[in-house]
Structure formats: structure tokens, C-alpha cells
């Protein structure tokens, strides 16, 4: 079973995502801020992280940096950003920092699920 970590500070979004992912029989972990995300990732070694950018304290960029360069699974982990920041520059920045994809909010759950699937196949 593939492990997925959802990171967002918005409980209602998390709830919908969690439900949809569990339905697809992923093992789901939930973090509500950057600190928690790093802790949970290091503990549970997820295969993929769905990561919000704008969060209090430690933001998504910082979490990504940790995941892709410091965490034990830095070479295999996939990261998909989900963010309300939808400008070209924002997307480019997110990808250039090493994210595997970038979905802008509001996003379609279906599209996200497809994306997760593709990423995990690679």
C-alpha cells in the first residue's frame, strides 16, 4: 500500500482529500502545518506528499527542501504542490525547487488522483 502524506492548514480540504484517497486505498497521513509534515514524513516515509505552500510558520517550500534534500527518502519521494498561488512565476518557482508537479487551487480531486497515480508509477 502506497503511503501518502497530505499537508494543508484547511481542515475541510483535508477531509475531502483524505476521504477520496482512502477510497483509492492509499495509506493516508495528515499534517496541518510544515513542522508536523516534516515530522510525519520522517516517521512514516511516505511515497508521495500532497503539499500546500502557504502555511503558518514553516511553509511548503521549506518542507519541500527538507523532503528532497534531508529526509531519508529524499531520492524516491514525490511531491505534488497544491496552492492558491497560480501565477506563472509561482508555478515555475515551485517546480524549480524540485516539486514533481504543481496543481493550483481550486483543483479537481479527479485530476489530483490521476496525478498521484502517474507519479507513483514512475
Amino acid at each position: 500500500m502506497k503511503k501518502i502524506l497530505i499537508v494543508d492548514d484547511e481542515p475541510n480540504i483535508i477531509m475531502a482529500l483524505e476521504y477520496a484517497l482512502k477510497k483509492k486505498s492509499y495509506l493516508v497521513y495528515i499534517a496541518r502545518d510544515g513542522d508536523e509534515a516534516i515530522r510525519l514524513a520522517d516517521e512514516n516515509l511516505p511515497d508521495l506528499v500532497v503539499l500546500d505552500i502557504m502555511m503558518p510558520k514553516v511553509d511548503g517550500y521549506e518542507v519541500l527542501r527538507h523532503l528532497k534534500s534531508e529526509s531519508p527518502i529524499k531520492d524516491s519521494i514525490k511531491v505534488v504542490f497544491i496552492s492558491a498561488k497560480n501565477k506563472e512565476d509561482d508555478i515555475e518557482q515551485g517546480l524549480s525547487l524540485g516539486a514533481d508537479n504543481y496543481l493550483t487551487k481550486p483543483f479537481s480531486i479527479k485530476k489530483l488522483l490521476n496525478e498521484i497515480e502517474t507519479q507513483l508509477e514512475n
Partner: protein
């Protein structure tokens, strides 16, 4: 005092002067050397031995008449602001190094005019230098109580000769350090200033000595003098025509202060900055006044003590000697020596420049120079100047040695003034009348000199040297109207003034008549215009000069290299090209370049030679007078146009700066707006994302259990509420900050308002089991917007309710007041506000980072809206840190506000 001892003292003194000049030359940039006082003191070179000794003699013989010589310069001093400024401006503009250059350039670099002016100056100054040498020689005799001079002995035993030679060495060494004669000679000027101090100091000492030591003050002197001497004669203007004589002598000295070569040297050539003129205007007249304070008393004292048997010129030496105070005589002697040295050095310096640049080079060496190399030329020019210095001093010495000892210092001084005054018409009028021509100047000058010779020199010399008095007293061939001292029956003036009157009259008439009858050529007119319009020309620089013809830059450059050296020439040309943005590859020279090159050469070889040198390589075409006038006229217009343009561009610059600032401000505002919109978008997207996700999940999964379905639907409902609040808040805030939301200020009770806000949130408080404690103490009447303040209080209370713990929460409200404000405090026992957030919470979209798990409902605009409302009340809202015990928000409202 023995001869030898005095000679040693003189030598020591000269040594000191050498050292001072050497030091100043070495430290020519020092503050002391360049001090404006030095400039003012160097002008006192005016006070020569004639002043030092002659004034007393004059005062003893004919009373206060000696003062006239000083009144002229004192009257002239204020005029300097205007007149001297113009002279200096022109001289600096054209690298003028002498009065001969000045006059010759004004009349179109006229070679023969420059030569005539030089000769006139030499004729005026050489006797004057002789006079100085005579003074040295005679005072030396008096102090050593011996006879010197060359009668009976050879030149070689005459100490004066050696002193003259030392002076020549001094002048030639320090005067020709720089090739460019228009450059400053700091060393010489500093030593002259030093000597000016010495001569005044020693003269004042002898004055005090006579008035207060030998007599009981000036009153005592006057009392004694009035009984024993014919004071009537000595203290008033005594003849019927005395007033007119006074007037003429004043005019004479007034002219001399501008025209004497040594004065031109110190005041114009050595001028470096504006401060100097400002200082000189008061300091120089003051110096002259101080110099004359004791003259009359020394004269009376001398007459009372020594009688009129001895030479009154030397009372200052004879009085202390007769009382055995030889040391005092030596001081006086040194003062006199100072006066002599400074006069002789500066005069020969100025004259040697004139001789070399206006006579010897243009008439003899110019051809050789154009063929030689630059280093050779520099050497030759300097040698010419040095030799000129020696020749001048030797000439003066020879003249001195043939002097009749009977001739007083004062009369020779006046001859000198008389001759130099002949330069006045061409010099002064030329600066203000553009029609003045070189022909007029030449004829005027020659005619004036002839009149001086006829009415003064001829009778003076026939009488005094040849003892032949009938020419003077009866006129040639006994024609009454031609009597030299009373030409055409003008017999009421003394000989000097009589001569001055007639010579200037004839000089001026010739100048005017010839200038009007025969127009000068275009070149003269060009310079005429440039001199008259010096202010404009100073701005136009080289463009004021009209020149047509063909010349190559390379040829002119070669000449410049030959005369001012490779380095200076290259540098000058670079500056020129930069100033006018001339293409370095341009081979043809234009008028500006010609003028520029001429100026550079003028400093080195004088204006006349400069013209000849440039003329050798440039094929000049005549320019019509109309062209000259037109170009000047056009340039004047261009200047005034460029002035208005400049003013306009200054205005534009100011506007641009303003626009820049406004633009900057707009940019900041724009950025803030962008940030705001970004945040709004983000805040809107969050609930929308949540709604969309929930909907998708609901749609996709038809088998979803009912309780979960309900939860998603609840979430959607909750998120739409959030959206509504958010949109309302955004609109509120926008209305408040744009000022479209008008405040409704009414006098009302603040406590009632707070009470109403509490009632609004009471149900939530009850649900959360939070106690709100509020005791209204008084009615707290003030003018405010009731509904808006309810919004504020409600918001603050809602925030507090959000952050307090369920069941344990407590909110305390209190209102205090001082003379100006009410302070409404809302204090809770929630989790408080971190220090770093105290300011931030009133910014739009702030939501505490510590909200953690359960995100409270709120747009993040709440406190920002509160701040806007309180601001509109001219109040303040702020948070106080009390991290341990919760948060405290203070709302400060003024008792009275302007709105």
C-alpha cells in the same frame, strides 16, 4: 653706525626676505599664502619710499597736501567692486599679464600700441625706481653719517649699486619661475605683504615716538606747533585755487592706483579669488589711513626740533638720531628699505614682462621662436625677462647717479604719476566704449606724453638740471601763451596739475576724435565688443570671437607646443575639445580654437606676439563689422535664450522629481493593492477549493454513508458562510479606506454602545461558558459613530471569545479616561498575542499563526476594519502584550475630534 654694520643688517634683512619668498613659493597652496589679507597687503606696494619719507617732507613744506595722494586710492576702493571686477574679469579671460597687454589686446592685439604703452610705462617707472634708489642711498648716508654715492668714487664702492643688484636678482629669480606671465607669483607677493606690514609698523613706531615720547601727545604738538610754525600755511588749503589743485592731485592718484604697473600686477595679475577684493576694499584704505595718521605730527615735530634747515624728507631718521636713538633710525631705515624693495621688485617684474612680451619678443624674437623648439623658447623667454629686470634696474641706477640732490622725492613721484596717467583714456574709456580705436589710443597717448614733456619735464629739467630758467618762466621765444607752466593763460594750477590738465585734455581729445573719424578694423571692433560686453563674453568664452579664414589645428598645435610645451598644449587642447565637443579628428580650426590658442599664447608671449604667431599659420579673411556685431548680438540672444531654457529645464527637473516621487508612491500603493488582491484571491480560493473538493467527493461516491455525507454538506455550508463574511468584510474595508463610507458622528453614550456589543455576543459567550465582566461607571458621552463602534467592539469581543478556553474563559472590560482620551480595555485570559504579532494583527488578512488545529471563522479583516474605524475617530487601537495571562486590546478615543 658703521657702514659695515648697516650693510650686514641690510644683507641679513634681504636674506630673510629671500627665505620668506622661497617658503611661500614652496607652500604656494597653503592657507596663509593665499589668505585675502595677503592680497590686500600686497596692494600696499603703493606706499613706496615716496610715501615713507616723502610724505613727511611734503607735509613739512606744504601742509596737508600730501593727503591727496592717498585720497584718490581711498575714493577708488569702493569703485573696485565695479571697475576692478571688470578689469580682473577681462584679464583672467584673456590671460593678460600687464597693463600693456590689456590695452594692446583691447585694440585688437595691436603690436605698436603695446610697445608704446610699454615705453610710456618704462618712462614713468624707471625714474620712479631711481627715486627709490636715491632714497636708499640718502638714508644710508644719514644713518651711517657718511657720504656715499658715486661722486668721487667708482660705482663699485657704492652700496646702493649692490643693493640694486640684489634686488634685480630677487625679482628675476622669483618673478620668472613660471613662463606664463599671467600666472601668480606667490613668493614675491607674500614677501611684499610682509614688507607692507613692516613698513607700516616701523612708521607707526616713529610716529608714536615723536608724538608721545618726544612730545606730550598730539595736542601738545599742536599747541607748540601753532606758536612756532606758520600752521595756517601747513594745515589748510592755502591758495585761492588750492581746492582745484587738490582736486587734480586726487584725480592723479586715483588714476595711478589703476594704471601703475605695480598696482596692475598686484591687484589684477596676482588676483585669484573674490574674497581678496572684498577684503582689499576695506583693508587697503584702512592701511593708507593708518600710514598717514602721524605724518603731519612727525612733520611738525621735525620742524619744531630740527627747524627747516635739514631735508624734511628724512625727519623720520633725523629726529631719533638727534636724540641718540640710533636703533630707532635703523628700524625706520629698514621700513624704508622694505618700501623700496617691494616697489622696485614688483615694478621691475611688471615692466620686464611688458618689455619682453610687448616690445622685445614681438619686434625681435618672434621669428626665431617660431623656428625653435619649445624648451629652447621657454629658456629664451625667461632669459629675456631676467635680462630686462637687470637692464631696468641698471638704467634706474644710472639715472639715480645723475640726479640733482636738490630734487625732492615728492616731485619725481609726481612725474611718474603724470606720465602713467596718460594711459587713462585708452584704458578706461576702451572698457566702456566699443568705438574706441587703436589709432585714437596711439595718437592720444603720444600727444598726451608730448604735452607732459612740454609742460612739465622740459621746464623741470631745464630749471633743475641745467639751471636754465627762462624757458620755464617766459616760455619759448618769450611767447606768453606758450609758457610751459601756464599754457594759454592757465596759471592757477601748480605745475603738475597744470600738466595733468592739459595732457589729459589733449590725450582725450585725440583719442575721441581719431576714434570717431577713423573706424577701427574688424579685429579691433571685435575686441572692443568683447571688452565692453565683458559679462556676456565671460559666459560665451571663445564663441564671442569672430574669425573667418583657413587654419589647421595641427599648425596651431605645433605653435602651442613650441611656446607652452608639449604637455600643457596637449592638456589645453583636450580641455578645449571637451568644452565645445569638437571632434578630435577635425583638421580645420575654427574661430573658437584660434581665440583659445591666442589666449594661451598671450600668457606666454603677450597678446601682440600671439596674434603674429597665429597669423603666420592661419590665412585670415577680413570680417565685416556687421558680422562682428551680428555674431555678438546672436550670441547674446543665444545666451538669454539658453538662460530661459535653463530656467525651464530647472522647472522641468523639479516637476520630474515630483512626478518621480508621486510615481514611487503610486508604485508602493500599487504593490500594496496587488498584495491585497493576491491575499483576497487566496482567501477566496481556500473556501472555494474546499467546497469544490467536497462536492466532487459527494458526486463521485454514491455509496457514501449518510453521516459522512452530512458532514461534507455541513462543510460546504460553513465555507459558503465564510465566503459571505469575507466578501462583506472586503467591501466594508474598501468603503472605509476609500472614504466612501461616511461616518455618522452623533453625541452618544459609549457605555451604551459597549453594552449593546456585549449583548450581541452574549449568546456565543454563554455557549462557550465565557464570562464577560463589564461595569458601566458613567454614561461616557461623546461624539462617535454608534453603529461603527458597535462593529469594533463586537469584533474585539469575538476575537477574545475565539481565543479563550471553553468553560474557563473570562473577558474584562473597563473604560478609563484622562484629559484627552477614553481608554476602552478588553482583556481576556486566552492564549494571548505573541510579541512579534502585536503590530501585525491590525494589518489586513492577519490570522494568528498560532491558530493551529481548528481554524476559527474570520476573514482576517476584522481588526483591520476596526483600525480603520477607530482611525476615522482620530483614535487609536492597539494590543498590549500579556502573553501569560491572555490578550488585551485598548481602544483609545478622543473626547473631541475635528470630524
Amino acid at each position: 653706525m658703521s657702514k659695515l654694520a648697516l650693510i650686514l643688517i641690510i644683507l641679513a634683512y634681504l636674506g630673510v626676505l629671500f627665505l620668506i619668498a622661497y617658503w611661500a613659493e614652496k607652500n604656494h597652496t597653503s592657507k596663509w599664502v593665499n589668505h585675502p589679507v595677503i592680497y590686500a597687503l600686497s596692494l600696499a606696494v603703493y606706499c613706496s619710499a615716496w610715501t615713507y619719507y616723502g610724505s613727511v617732507g611734503m607735509a613739512a613744506r606744504s601742509g596737508v597736501e600730501f593727503l591727496t595722494i592717498y585720497i584718490g586710492p581711498i575714493i577708488a576702493a569702493p569703485l573696485w567692486i565695479f571697475l576692478m571686477r571688470k578689469i580682473i574679469q577681462l584679464s583672467k579671460l584673456y590671460n593678460i599679464s600687464s597693463i600693456a597687454d590689456f590695452i594692446s589686446l583691447r585694440y585688437g592685439n595691436n603690436r605698436s600700441l603695446g610697445a608704446i604703452v610699454t615705453l610710456v610705462c618704462a618712462a614713468s617707472i624707471i625714474p620712479y625706481i631711481s627715486l627709490q634708489l636715491k632714497a636708499i642711498s640718502e638714508t644710508f648716508e644719514i644713518v651711517t653719517t657718511s657720504t656715499i654715492g658715486i661722486e668721487g668714487n667708482s660705482v663699485l664702492t657704492d652700496s646702493t649699486f649692490y643693493i640694486a643688484i640684489i634686488l634685480a636678482v630677487f625679482a628675476s629669480f622669483f618673478g620668472t619661475l613660471s613662463l606664463d606671465a599671467s600666472k601668480n607669483r606667490k613668493g614675491v607677493m607674500f614677501s611684499v605683504a610682509f614688507e607692507s606690514v613692516l613698513k607700516l609698523f616701523f612708521f607707526l613706531i616713529i610716529g608714536v615716538y615723536v608724538s608721545f615720547y618726544l612730545f606730550d601727545g598730539t595736542t601738545d604738538l599742536y599747541a607748540k606747533a601753532s606758536t612756532e610754525i606758520d600752521l595756517q600755511k601747513l594745515s589748510t588749503i592755502n591758495t585761492d585755487y588750492g581746492g582745484i589743485n587738490w582736486y587734480f592731485t586726487i584725480v592723479l592718484s586715483f588714476l595711478a592706483i589703476f594704471l601703475l604697473p605695480r598696482q596692475f600686477q598686484t591687484s589684477v595679475v596676482e588676483y585669484t579669488n573674490r574674497k581678496q577684493l572684498k577684503t582689499a576694499i576695506w583693508l587697503f584704505p584702512l592701511y593708507l589711513l593708518l600710514f598717514n595718521v602721524f605724518v603731519i605730527f612727525i612733520a611738525w615735530g621735525g620742524l619744531l626740533l630740527l627747524g627747516d634747515e635739514v631735508n624734511a624728507d628724512y625727519f623720520t631718521l633725523l629726529i631719533p638720531m638727534s636724540f641718540g636713538h640710533n636703533w630707532l633710525s635703523i628700524l625706520v631705515f629698514l621700513g624704508g628699505l622694505s618700501a623700496v624693495i617691494s616697489m622696485v621688485v614688483v615694478s621691475t617684474l611688471a615692466l620686464s614682462t611688458m618689455l619682453s612680451n610687448n616690445l622685445i619678443i614681438p619686434y625681435g624674437f618672434i621669428k626665431t621662436f617660431s623656428e625653435n623648439k619649445s624648451s629652447q623658447n621657454e629658456k629664451t623667454i625667461k632669459t629675456i625677462r631676467r635680462i630686462s629686470v637687470f637692464v631696468l634696474i641698471i638704467l634706474a641706477y644710472l639715472l639715480y647717479s645723475s640726479f640733482n640732490p636738490e630734487i625732492s622725492l615728492f616731485s619725481i613721484g609726481l612725474i611718474s604719476f603724470l606720465i602713467i596717467a596718460q594711459l587713462a583714456p585708452s584704458f578706461f574709456i576702451g572698457m566702456f566704449w566699443n568705438r574706441g580705436s587703436s589709432l585714437g589710443a596711439k595718437y592720444g597717448l603720444l600727444a598726451g606724453c608730448f604735452v607732459v614733456i612740454y609742460t612739465y619735464l622740459a621746464p623741470f629739467f631745464t630749471e633743475n638740471i641745467f639751471d636754465y630758467s627762462s624757458f620755464a618762466s617766459q616760455g619759448p621765444m618769450q611767447i606768453n601763451a606758450l609758457k610751459p607752466y601756464a599754457l594759454f593763460g592757465v596759471d592757477f594750477l601748480n605745475p603738475v596739475n597744470h600738466s595733468l590738465y592739459w595732457s589729459l585734455f589733449v590725450n582725450l581729445s585725440f583719442y575721441l576724435i581719431f576714434s570717431i573719424v577713423k573706424k577701427g578694423d574688424y579685429r579691433e571692433r571685435n575686441y572692443g565688443e568683447m571688452f565692453v560686453n565683458s559679462e556676456e563674453v565671460a559666459q560665451m568664452k571663445e564663441t564671442a570671437y569672430v574669425w573667418k579664414g583657413e587654419a589647421y589645428v595641427e599648425d596651431i598645435q605645433n605653435i602651442l607646443v613650441k611656446f607652452i610645451g608639449e604637455n600643457r598644449a596637449q592638456k589645453a587642447i583636450r580641455i578645449f575639445r571637451k568644452r565645445y565637443q569638437v571632434d578630435p579628428n577635425e583638421r580645420l580650426a575654427d574661430g573658437r580654437f584660434i581665440n583659445f590658442a591666442e589666449k594661451l599664447l598671450t600668457g606666454a608671449v603677450g597678446s601682440a606676439s600671439a596674434k603674429i604667431l597665429i597669423g603666420n599659420v592661419a590665412k585670415e579673411k577680413p570680417v565685416s563689422l556687421i558680422e562682428v556685431l551680428k555674431i555678438l548680438e546672436e550670441n547674446k540672444e543665444a545666451i538669454s535664450e539658453s538662460k530661459t531654457l535653463q530656467e525651464k529645464s530647472e522647472q522641468l527637473l523639479k516637476l520630474t522629481n515630483k512626478l518621480k516621487m508621486v510615481n514611487q508612491e503610486l508604485k508602493i500603493q500599487d504593490q500594496l493593492k496587488d498584495d491585497f488582491l493576491d491575499t483576497v484571491a487566496h482567501e477566496l480560493k481556500t473556501p472555494i477549493t474546499s467546497i469544490k473538493a467536497s462536492c466532487e467527493v459527494l458526486l463521485e461516491d454514491e455509496d457514501m454513508p449518510a453521516d459522512i455525507q452530512e458532514q461534507f454538506l455541513n462543510n460546504i455550508n460553513h465555507d459558503t458562510d465564510r465566503l459571505t463574511i469575507l466578501i462583506n468584510d472586503i467591501l466594508d474595508l474598501e468603503k472605509l479606506s476609500s472614504g466612501r463610507d461616511e461616518m455618522n458622528f452623533q453625541t452618544n453614550s459609549l457605555s451604551a454602545c459597549i453594552q449593546e456589543a456585549i449583548e450581541g455576543v452574549q449568546s456565543i459567550a454563554n455557549k462557550k461558558q465565557v464570562s464577560i465582566n463589564w461595569k458601566s461607571t458613567s454614561k461616557l458621552k461623546l461624539k462617535f459613530d454608534y453603529n461603527k463602534m458597535i462593529q469594533v467592539f463586537t469584533n474585539v469581543l469575538s476575537n477574545a471569545l475565539k481565543f479563550v478556553e471553553e468553560g474557563k474563559g473570562k473577558i474584562d472590560i473597563s473604560v478609563t479616561e484622562d484629559e484627552e482620551f477614553y481608554f476602552c480595555s478588553f482583556s481576556d485570559n486566552g492564549k494571548g498575542i505573541p510579541e512579534e504579532d502585536l503590530q501585525l494583527i491590525f494589518k489586513k488578512f492577519y490570522q494568528s499563526k498560532n491558530q493551529m488545529l481548528k481554524k476559527p471563522t474570520g476573514s482576517g479583516f476584522g481588526l483591520a476594519i476596526c483600525k480603520q474605524i477607530v482611525d476615522l475617530h482620530e483614535g487609536e487601537i492597539f494590543a498590549i502584550s500579556k502573553l501569560q495571562k491572555g490578550a488585551e486590546i485598548i481602544i483609545k478615543l478622543p473626547h473631541n475630534h475635528e470630524n
